[in-house]
């Protein structure tokens, strides 16, 4: 069969997902949308900067710019003066303040967009997206309130210190988005909209690039690139050889085919070790996979006491991820099938014994070798 035609479905799906070239594709839609958005928003912000002279006067607004109301006997004007004027006086410089808040919000949106684009479904967190959008608005507002007041700044610090933020981020890179949001908020809050716009744009471009290039994603490649002489290709570090059984067919029952290594296992009733009774039965290796090594050991000892002729705990290994492997050397009794030990351990061991298996010495020796290639 033609290899291209054979691979066509992978190629097609890869093209559809934008991974056809083997590397990540940002995608034309993403680029067009981001560019158009920035074109509009940056024009708008440039307009705001021109109109407000980069929010000049925001920090030194002094008495909030309400035009003095002339003396009048008009009751409506009187009402405005007595109610609205004091109210308006307490507000921040409305024009520049509102412009800063809106600008912060607009500049945060593409950052949130970039987050959505670059995160996988597993690493994605809705909370981060919403935080990235809202944080600049909040930070800008706070800075407008604090203005140049040292007392207010200290009060704010006190309040922030009193609130404990114990939110664990799934991905440490999410923190960078939070910092970017704070940065945009800060820049907008102090009236430096140009810096906020630059930060937002540069951050998005950089983040998309890092994601696309998957920088330092492959340790071997990066190591070779940075730490090996230029004329030498990096030595490939072999992965721990996995034992891969021939799998069940796609779309069919996974039980359609027994695992290739089932033959090695004395599971499901177990097969007695062959022997004519005259020759000395070979010692076997019992592996007990456990969550609690101490409890599993006392359980295994009790079972072995009953069913094994002789046994000895050879080693207790930490298999990683809170899994332990107890390794016993066992000589079974003539009348006890080897599988009976495994069966009892499996039945009585829950929840401390996750699984157990019994290997003959030959299998033990074989297990040290690389697994044979399976079709």
């Amino acid at each position: 069969m033609d290899p291209i035609a054979k691979n066509s479905s992978i190629e097609r799906l890869a093209v559809r997902l934008g991974v056809a070239s083997g590397s990540r594709q940002i995608g034309r839609t993403t680029l067009v949308r981001l560019t158009s958005y920035y074109a509009v928003v940056l024009t708008l912000i440039a307009g705001i900067i021109v109109v407000t002279d980069n929010l000049k006067g925001m920090r030194t607004a002094g008495p909030r710019g309400i035009a003095p109301v002339s003396e009048t006997t008009d009751p409506a004007a009187e009402l405005t003066r007595s109610f609205l004027e004091p109210l308006l006086r307490t507000l921040p410089p409305l024009r520049t303040g509102a412009a800063a808040v809106i600008a912060a919000f607009l500049l945060a949106l593409p950052v949130a967009f970039t987050y959505v684009r670059t995160r996988s479904s597993l690493a994605y967190e809705q909370a981060v997206v919403q935080t990235v959008i809202m944080l600049p608005v909040v930070v800008t507002s706070i800075l407008i309130v604090v203005e140049n007041s040292l007392a207010l700044a200290f009060s704010l610090a006190g309040i922030v210190a009193a609130v404990r933020f114990r939110n664990n981020l799934k991905d440490s890179r999410d923190a960078v988005y939070i910092f970017a949001a704070v940065g945009i908020g800060f820049a907008s809050g102090v009236g430096a909209l140009a810096i906020a716009a630059f930060l937002s744009t540069f951050f998005c471009v950089l983040e998309l690039l890092l994601w696309k290039l998957d920088l330092a994603g492959d340790h071997e490649h990066t190591f070779g690139l940075l730490c090996m002489p230029a004329n030498k290709t990096p030595e490939t570090v072999p992965l721990p050889a996995p034992i891969v059984e021939p799998p069940a067919l796609s779309g069919e029952a996974s039980a359609a085919m027994p695992s290739a290594d089932t033959g090695l296992l004395a599971l499901g009733g177990g097969t007695p070790i062959p022997g004519n009774g005259k020759t000395k039965r070979p010692a076997q290796r019992l592996l007990v996979y456990a969550t609690d090594p101490e409890k599993a050991r006392s359980l295994a000892n009790a079972v072995l006491q009953d069913l094994a002729k002789r046994y000895k705990l050879k080693a207790t290994r930490n298999g990683g991820n809170d899994r332990y492997v107890l390794e016993y050397r066992v000589r079974t009794r003539k009348k006890s099938p080897a599988g009976a030990i495994v069966d009892r351990l499996n039945a009585e061991g829950i929840p401390y014994v996750v699984a157990a298996e019994l290997l003959t010495e030959e299998e033990t020796a074989e297990s040290g070798k690389a697994p044979p290639e399976k079709a």
Binding site: S9, L13, L17, L122, I243, S250, S254, T262
Partner: protein
């Protein structure tokens, strides 16, 4: 079927990451059925996920009636309800003989198969779920459809006759 690429997936029915990835696995199994062989292996982390072992047996019981993928989809979609009655309800939903299903689940006839999958995973160096092997090499990339398909594409190109 003459698939050149084999995707072996180790999963746990109470693992939230597996549940998120499972629709992608189904999509790969369905869309790439002519070129990728997808196999599911059980790796129930019983001490953290107390119902995962029973759920794996339930999936195998459904598998014995030819409804593994349908049952697995339901189990992943209802991770918070994996008690026996619920699983029997799912069995009825996927149109399998519920009496046989309940009997097999009660007798634990599929436990050895699940255990054998687990042991196979242990030997292959599986430490958590989901773990995947593509043509025997452990997949270390992100659990995103695009990334996995990219790895499958690379594996397929590498295994092409030159």
């Amino acid at each position: 079927m003459d698939a050149r690429v084999t995707l072996l997936h180790y999963g746990d029915f109470q693992c939230p990451h597996c549940a998120l990835f499972f629709p992608h696995l189904i999509e790969i199994a369905h869309e790439l059925r002519d070129s990728v062989r997808v196999a599911f292996r059980h790796f129930p982390i019983a001490d953290v996920h107390p119902q995962a072992l029973r759920a794996a047996e339930a999936a195998e019981a459904a598998a014995s009636q030819g409804r593994f993928w349908e049952m697995a989809s339901l189990l992943y979609a209802n991770q918070e309800r994996l008690d026996e009655d619920s699983m029997v309800r799912y069995a009825k939903k996927v149109n399998i003989d519920a009496r046989r299903f309940r009997k097999e689940l009660g007798s634990g006839v599929h436990a050895p198969r699940v255990r054998s999958d687990y042991l196979g995973g242990q030997r292959s160096g599986v430490q958590g779920t989901p773990t995947m092997f593509i043509n025997g090499q452990v997949y270390t990339g992100r659990l995103e459809l695009g990334d996995v398909v990219g790895a499958l594409l690379t594996a397929s190109r590498n295994s092409s006759p030159r």
